[in-house]
Structure formats: C-alpha cells, structure tokens
Subunit: 170 residues, 4 copies
C-alpha cells in the first residue's frame, strides 16, 4: 500500500477513504438480476468523495454501472464550495482517483463502457483502484485500462464546459 500511494501520489488517508467508501457503497447496489454488487468511489482534488453503485433494470441494457452512477452524480452536483462541473474552479472537482469494489477475487475491473465514461472526465493518468471481496486489490492508470482511447478530440470538441443555452432554446 505504501508503494501504491507513492506511485500514484495518494496519501494513506486518501487510500483508506477510497477503500472504505467503495466497499461500503456496495451495500447501495440495486442488482436483483445479476446479484453482482459493485461499489464505486471517486476522490476529487478538493478532497470530496462521491460514491455510486450499480443500478440494474429488467431491460438489461438500461442498467447503469456503479462507475457511471458515481460519475453522473459528481458531474451534476454543486459542492459546498459552490463549485460545479464546467464552472470556475472545476479543477477542484477533477478526479484524483477512482475506486471500484466487488465481492469477487481477483478484483473485477471496470467494464469497457465505464472505462469510456471515465475517459470523458479524467486525465488518462488517473489511478483506478480495484478492490476484491477480501483485502486484495489492483491498481492501473486509465491509460493502461483503455489505451489509445476514443475521446472528445475525435469529434473535434475542444471546449468541454457546460453551455449556458441549448441550441434549440426557445
């Protein structure tokens, strides 16, 4: 763990927070179809933790994984310091680390769809911690989990901020 923290620029308390938050987030899972619980915790640069869990649906493709639940939560939250995604001070919200916890061993990795979702909101260097059902874990950077990724640049989108008006605004 000490080595992990050094390699990925995390403090020991960051690590413990990510560990505990992602594990306890598993209890929030709504997974009556797969019976496969997943918890996720995001750590922002300002020290906020946002948790999520998988939210399934009778129509399987309508399911939202834990990672995307947490990302959507984070992106649509106005934090105590009045900072919101796309606004001034957004850097504070950018993620310092992503943690995912499941009940299996070896630890499960984010599915490809979630790697793509993380790609939209994180630097490719962001560490992704994967915790198993016991005390084991793995860590890889996003660039190692989704190499040569397809991102906003491919569509020519440069300004990623939140627009103030819809194009179809009435």
């Amino acid at each position: 763990i000490t080595t992990t923290c050094t390699t990925f620029s995390l403090s020991r308390s960051d690590f413990d927070l990510l560990h505990n938050s992602s594990k306890s987030a598993k209890s929030l899972s709504y997974s009556p179809y797969s019976h496969f619980r997943v918890g996720c915790a995001l750590l922002t640069h300002s020290g906020d933790i946002i948790v999520g869990a998988n939210v399934e649906n009778a129509s399987y493709p309508v399911t939202t994984c834990a990672e995307r639940t947490a990302l959507c939560k984070a992106v649509t939250t106005v934090f105590d310091n009045d900072v919101k995604w796309g606004g001034e001070g957004e850097q504070q919200l950018r993620f310092k680390a992503v943690a995912v916890a499941t009940d299996i061993s070896p630890p499960a990795s984010p599915c490809g769809m979630c790697r793509q979702a993380i790609r939209e909101f994180c630097d490719v260097e962001v560490p992704i911690l994967m915790f198993d059902g016991g005390e084991g874990y793995s860590v890889l950077r996003l660039k190692d989990l989704l190499p040569l990724s397809f991102g906003p640049e491919a569509l020519g989108v440069r300004e990623m901020g939140r627009q103030q008006e819809s194009k179809s605004s009435s």
Copy 2:
C-alpha cells in the same frame, strides 16, 4: 396548475419545487455534443428532491440522460433519516412525482430508455411533469407514457430489495 395538483395529488409547493428544481438542474447539464440541456427532479414521499442532468460522452451510447442520472443518484443515496433504497422505510423514498425540463417548446418527453428506467422504480401511476423553455408544461402518468410496459415481473423477479451478498461473493 391547480387542476394539475388536484388530479395528481400534489400540493402547490410540491409543484413549484418540481418546477424550479428541474429547471435549475438544466444548468448542471454536460452536453457538449448535442447542446441539448435537460434537467430532472424527483420528489420522494418524504419530501426529498433529487436532481439530475444529462451527462454526455464522446461515444454517444455511453451518455446518461437526466432522468437516469437522477434515478441512479436517488437509489444510491442514504438520506438524512438513514433510509436507503431497498432497506426499511424505503416507501419514504419511492417517488411521488418526476419532473423533466428542457429549453424547447412543446416540452420534451423522456426518451423510451428513461421511461423504462422510471418503470423500475416507480408505480405506473406516478405523474411525469414536462416543462418547456418558458412557462408551458404537460403532465402524464407513467402508464400513459409507457403502456403495457416490460417490467421486473416478466423476468420472474419478485423480491426487488437489495441483496446483502453477491452470488459470487468470495
């Protein structure tokens, strides 16, 4: 509005809260691809409001709509009264109404995917309020937006609560 409130068992303050919350949630939208802002607000039976906005992705199918963002937030949140979805007192969390706001007129309705997501967590009688960019709105019950719906029953899932252990738990 008075008629709407009577028909759908909402108080005037419920209505105003849904109206204002869904409209202001549009400012949380992350939509650099469609430039189409959507805000959503869910009202629980205990009076909590949960808001969401659409969160897009360079890979379009990885996008999460406002309604699903709000639902996933609600389902994975532990509220002040210590109630969580799938736990004791869940009834307090069940939704009394769903509101969606966009910048167009006539007001946009939830896409089919979101109607399906709402179906998983709401009674088919739940009212869905759709606000346009001005002062107009429409209201329909879920059963009128998604008739003859495909729900958990079709898969034989009866106990919808959150399981405590994954089947593959190690």
Copy 3:
C-alpha cells in the same frame, strides 16, 4: 387474426411470415445471463423480412435487444434490389410491421429503449405484434406503445438521410 390483418393492413401471409420468423429467430438468441430468449422480425414494404435476437454481454448495459439487433441489421443492409437505407427507394425499406416473440405469456412488449429505437425508423402508426410462447399474441401501434414520443424533430434534425461525408473527414 383476420381482424388483426384488416385493422393493420396486413395480408394473412404477412402475418404468418411475421409470426414464424420472429418465433424461429428466438433460436438465434445469445442470452447466457438472463436465459430470456427474444426473437424479432421486421417486414419491409418491399416484402423483405429481417430477423434479430437479443445479444447479451457480461456487462449488462452492453446488451443489444432483439429489436435493435434487427433494426441495425436492416438499416445497414443493401438489399437485392440495390436499395439501401437513406438512398433512393428507401421507402421500400421502411417497415410495414414489427414482430417480437418470447417464451412467456402474456406476451412481452418491447422495452422502452427499443420502442425509442423503433421510433427512429418507423411511422408512429406501425403495428407491433407481440407473440407469446404459445399461440397468443397482442398488437398495438407504436404510437400506443410510446405516446408523445421524443424523436428527431426535438433536436431539429429534418434531413434524416445518410450524409455522404463526415464533418471531420480528413
């Protein structure tokens, strides 16, 4: 059946073709996770039948339902008469009816996500036939399964044809 055919402008052989094709398409289902087989058949105005089945994934949200499999197949196929979607003669490809078959009773309806997908490529009057595991079936028009739908118009897209060049073409 005679009444159904009259009401929805289908010949008896159209009906039988839709029935048999959607039922036999169930055998093409790849559903090791839900064990819930779904077959779909699309009938074009030129008399072609395109079938699909659900294609699941270990990551549930990556699943493609039978209806969307069939639609994507149809839209990306060049038929014998050299007609393709978005090209001249496309009207011949437009769908006259959609059929879905499962093993349960009462018959399952398309999930909301698929109703949305059908909406993109069909007139709202298109009949959707739902066959159960035996001899029972229901029929409803798209407008009755997805009332007040969110379609291309909401985004201001008028010309639905296939563009010849990408905007980012190099």
Copy 4:
C-alpha cells in the same frame, strides 16, 4: 502491410477484404446527429465477412456503434453452411479479425463499450485493424485495447452456448 499480415496471421487478401469492406461500410452509416461515419467488418474463420455501420438515435444513448451492429448481425445470422453461433461448428464463425474505418486521421479506435462487446465474442488475441480516412491504419490486439478485461468468467458463466429454452418458458 506484409509485416502486419505476418504478425497477425492474415493473408494479403484477408487484409484487403477487411480494408475494403470496412471502408465501404461507412456508406451504410445512419449518423444524422454526429455526422461521424463509422464502418466495421468482421472476418470469420470460415472466410465470411459481416459488415456494420453506426446507427444513431435522437436519444443519443440508444445509438448502436458500427462494431456492435456488425457483432449482433454476425451472432444472429445463419450462414450458408447452416452454422449458427452457439451451435455445432461455431468455431468457423469465431472472428479472425475486426476492422473499423472512419473518416479521420489518426484512425479512430473502438469506444470502450464496443471493446467490451468484442470481448464477449472474440479471443483476446484477435487483431483489431483501424483504418483512417486515407491510406493509414493501426493494428492492435484486443488484449492491448482492453487489458484486464471484465468478461463472462467474472459472472461465473461457463457455458456460453445458446440455451434452447428460456427459464420462464410457458
């Protein structure tokens, strides 16, 4: 190209077929929202080519990418030799290579969601060829585009074949 063919065990005609088929499949793209055309070609061990293109939707998350369109097509097709996925002789259908073509340069890679879809039906050694708008291309194996992937094993699914009866069969 010669080196590519040697490294990935493809003949020169395999390569040309993948190249030409994926490029021409771009013309099948239905992408009125992104105006970003993508074509895909799958080569089976028996020499069949299955093509697909992206099929978008007014509700962005209902979009199906080119790769998933092609995979769903392949999995739900009965080929001339009467072999179908999940049946006897399936090995002939397993994919020898995947090709993706876009109009941009450097060539676009499959999004994370599609890498996950490919994972379900291919060996992790399968080569993925990415063609740009001109004569350039890149090649990487699936294991290099989706390392440490989340697959069927994580859910304890061993028998991947197509079941003959739904569990809820009536």
